[in-house]
Point group: C2
Amino acid sequence: VSLYLRQLEAAQRQGLTTITSRRLGSALGINDAQVRKDLAHLGQFGQPGIGYRVDDLTTALRRTLGIDRDWPTALIGLGNLGRALVKYRGFRGRNFHIVSLFDNDARKVGQTHGGLVVQPLETLGDVAREQGLTLAILCIPAEAAQRVADQVVACGITGILNFAPVPLTVPPRVSVVAVDLSVQLEHLAYKVQNAKGGISYAG
Amino acid sequence: VSLYLRQLEAAQRQGLTTITSRRLGSALGINDAQVRKDLAHLGQFGQPGIGYRVDDLTTALRRTLGIDRDWPTALIGLGNLGRALVKYRGFRGRNFHIVSLFDNDARKVGQTHGGLVVQPLETLGDVAREQGLTLAILCIPAEAAQRVADQVVACGITGILNFAPVPLTVPPRVSVVAVDLSVQLEHLAYKVQNAKGGISYAG
DNA sequence: TAGATTGTTAATCGATTAACAATC
DNA sequence: TAGATTGTTAATCGATTAACAATC
């Protein structure tokens, strides 16, 4: 779904005002019927004989992706990875804002990273309420992940991006996306090992 | 495929010597027939009436995943993310070894991170030959990604883990796994937005 | 009007599941 | 031997593709 949006943005940069299902499909390596089915699912956007209006479709996709609104995000765990993500520029301009930092380690509490002060994890509940946190990025060791995830869930946060290399158990109302870098590397090794080639977009 | 291995390792820790397709399947949320089909694909491991020998199967999976051998890996780009990955502990103990660092920025060349000296990108070819590099981790800005990827490919490296938020074009003999953190966050937002729940393991 | 392209229904294809003979 | 579980073939299910009437 994100990938449609990427293509539309590319089309927009090229100055196109409309785009056909055939063209979108071939850019993504899928059938035009598939594209029409996916897009029809979101409402009636296409104009028979013309195609899809790029700007209307972009807006609609943004809405379904949920990036038409703000997602105040907490980052938990300021190890190497956590600190890198605070400064990561790829998140900006996409309505994901890291608005508070947390860590259990007393030595890290009080430090400043990217203009934000690290707070103790006990205050998560209060801060979540104050700032209306909706998402949490977990950059913590495997051992602590489930425990912290439970805390996060208890605070009413409903989305977790998990970098810890363990599967999390959460109530069904909470969504989890896991990014396990070792698994990605294993996947790469597998492909290289068995491959005469092929490209995959895991992310 | 990685996920089977994770389950087997868990079983091993519990001291099991054999495991049934039913049990493996239910742990992963899939059908037992599916498990048998997947595993039969790798050879004849199962013993009718008993199940699968955990240690044999682990060995076999390791081999097909390619983590029974060493993967000397280059990390290119020592921005925030790159520096974090050098120190990332999740890679160790899984036969992925970051053995050399590269950056285009003259100010970064010569710096030491995690005991390795950053080298200029021009030397990639020589170093790749010397050290037998097989994989490259790309932590570079989107604008530079394709150009550096071309260099990497020219050096005979056949696997790329790409953290830059652009799709790379590479020859069919080269495998790419892309990890786009913004896409993962968008995916999370989408799930939260549209979700009555559900868990996904993206990686 | 004629050409093009959508939304959607029907046909095809592949993947998942069920079933069962073979075997420990 | 009886119970259990594999590997694999047949049946089912869902997803992808093709086709076409509706429409700009």
